[in-house]
């Protein structure tokens, strides 16, 4: 049955304007990759000549850009003209997407982290904003009420062991640029560059309520919470542990 080969070829073409061009220029080179009947081959050769194939390719890109742009708008804004190149590179690597919004954002986020690490993306603000939006995305898809009710039960049984971890609905992020103004500028879509104070700014994201609350916290607390998150915190006194749990920042480790 060649139906599967035809559908695979159609989808590959829709996902790649370059492949469409290659099929126009050198049909055999593309068609030999698929199990196709003669009619399938004639169909594919003809459809790539039609203007509608360009529309299909554009809709594919729009559909894959949509979750990224909707759920990480500031990151996309900062990428600016690099967005399409980065997204295209990402789609080349992750061509077999399930187009689940949460997954797509997480994978693109990890892809960008790697690109930043390797020095392909150099904007110092980008990494901070990326981490902020990835944290918000995690909250968006976390079953908040379910997490809270499970924690309630767990807290009762595990409170005595004094080992803690970060609350699953809390994130702590380090910014090197003044975050309040930075996020305001991004909300306003103000063009770069931004004049921002530089330093060590710790931001707490609290997703326990219906809306995520973002607030600046003391650097000492920020560093401590980050260390707890990483599992590298030095031993804490029983009072400190109790205080962090009471503040809703950590939970007992089970």
């Amino acid at each position: 049955m060649t139906m599967q080969g035809f559908q695979k070829a159609m989808c590959d073409l829709v996902a790649s304007p370059d492949l469409c061009m290659l099929l126009q220029e050198s049909p055999q080179q593309v068609l030999e990759r698929y199990d196709l009947s003669d009619r399938d081959r004639r169909r594919l050769v003809e459809v790539v000549q039609q203007p509608g194939m360009f529309v299909n390719c554009s809709l594919y890109r729009a559909n894959r850009l949509s979750p990224l742009y909707n759920l990480m708008p500031h990151t996309c804004f900062l990428l600016n003209e690099a967005l399409l190149d980065e997204a295209t590179e990402f789609w080349n690597v992750f061509d077999e997407s399930r187009l689940q919004y949460n997954e797509e954002v997480e994978k693109f986020g990890n892809f960008l982290r790697r690109r930043i690490e390797l020095g392909f993306l150099k904007d110092p603000i980008l990494a901070e904003v990326l981490e902020y939006e990835l944290a918000l995305n995690e909250f968006r898809y976390t079953p908040r009420l379910d997490v809270l009710s499970r924690l309630e039960v767990r807290n009762l049984v595990a409170r005595e062991n004094k080992l803690i971890r970060l609350h699953p609905l809390v994130r702590v992020l380090l910014f090197r640029h003044e975050p309040k103004r930075l996020l305001e500028f991004l909300e306003e879509r103000r063009p770069l560059p931004y004049e921002l104070a530089e330093g060590e700014f710790w931001v707490l994201l609290d997703g326990k309520g219906e809306e995520v609350v973002t607030k600046l916290i003391d650097s000492g607390v920020g560093r401590l919470l980050k260390a707890i998150e990483a599992g590298t915190a030095q031993s804490l006194s029983a009072d400190d542990v109790e205080m962090l749990i009471e503040a809703g920042l950590t939970v007992p480790l089970t």
Binding site: M10, C11, M53, D95, E96, R98, Q100
Partner: protein, 309 residues
């Protein structure tokens, strides 16, 4: 011929769905609208796939419901029927039918008791190099071939066995003309509804877009399709892109779609609902009044149908 007035036995023990009226397809911009404008629609259309996370076939906890979305849905469901418009069956996929997805739809059906449900006459899943199915990135129209007709009809039977309510398939929008098809779209739709007993979700905006892009007469298309199989009609807006007219659901319905609706209504004796759909990003432009205006106009059309039936 699909006829909701046929005997229950002929359609697998399914009772005729009730005539609902005018519906609104839910989207991310609508939580507040639906709570404060409950009077503006008779039923709520939902894309169930947007109410859950899907971790993929084989995952032990594949589906996880999204609390905030479910909360609104439960609130509406207490006073309005819910109609499911699925996007994940991928009924024209040459690979396998996703049975665990069908199980999840059945769970939703059991909870919300949809009077009918629907999906698209296209495919969105394709077998990748890894051997797993992945998303094609858009709903790809199927060729109207005998082999495809048999495949889809067999899958309709599986869907109807699992979820014992009327199941509709929506006519697709397509931007390329696939050459050498075994039959025209109208014949494919007629043969499908006759052989499989699925109903037709007639998307008038898709029809309008296809007629405009491919140069045929939409009214003649309606004359050629067996309109007794139509249970639901979709209306929407779109816009121009790269020299073609797309089904972008960009705001209000264009005038020709309303004209098609007026033409179709007296010819669809088994029509049970007219659903207005728009992309959430256009809510800011349309506003509450704009959405209500579309629903009111659809209601006026529905009333003309009611006076005839």
């Amino acid at each position: 011929m699909f006829d909701v007035n046929d005997s229950a036995a002929a359609r697998g023990g399914v009772c005729s769905p009730p005539a609902l009226g005018v519906g609104l397809l839910y989207n991310a911009a609508l939580p507040e609208f639906v709570r404060s404008n409950l009077d503006s629609f008779d039923y709520l259309g939902i894309i169930p796939d947007t109410f859950w996370l899907d971790r993929g076939p084989g995952h032990p906890q594949r589906y996880e419901e999204l609390e905030f979305w479910i909360e609104t849905l439960d609130w509406v469901a207490a006073s309005r029927p819910i109609v499911s418009h699925n996007i994940g069956l991928s009924i024209g996929n040459a690979g396998s039918l996703d049975l665990s997805y069908l199980e999840q739809l059945a769970l939703f059906y059991n909870r919300y008791q949809f009077p009918w449900h629907s999906d698209h006459l296209s495919f969105v899943q394709v077998r990748g190099a890894s051997g797993d199915d992945h998303n094609a990135g858009l709903a790809v129209a199927i060729p109207y071939d005998k082999e495809m007709l048999e495949l889809v009809a067999a899958r309709v039977a599986v869907v109807k066995e699992k979820i014992p309510i009327p199941f509709l398939l929506e006519n697709s929008v397509y931007f390329v003309d696939i050459p050498e098809q075994d039959m025209p779209e109208t014949e494919f739709l007629n043969r499908l509804t006759q052989s499989s007993q699925c109903g037709l979700l007639l998307d008038l905006h898709n029809l309008y877009a296809n007629a405009r892009n491919h140069g045929f007469d939409a009214f003649t298309f309606l004359d050629l399709v067996d309109l007794t199989s139509v249970v639901e009609i979709h209306i929407a807006g779109g816009d121009e892109f790269a020299g073609m007219y797309t089904d972008s659901h960009a705001g209000p319905c264009p005038e020709p779609v309303w004209e098609l609706l007026d033409y179709a209504i007296p010819r669809t004796p088994n029509l049970r609902g007219i659903t207005f759909e728009f992309h959430f990003s256009y809510y800011g432009l349309m506003g509450e009044a704009g959405v209500r205006a579309q629903l009111n106009r659809a209601r006026a059309a529905w009333a003309r149908r009611s006076s005839r039936n």
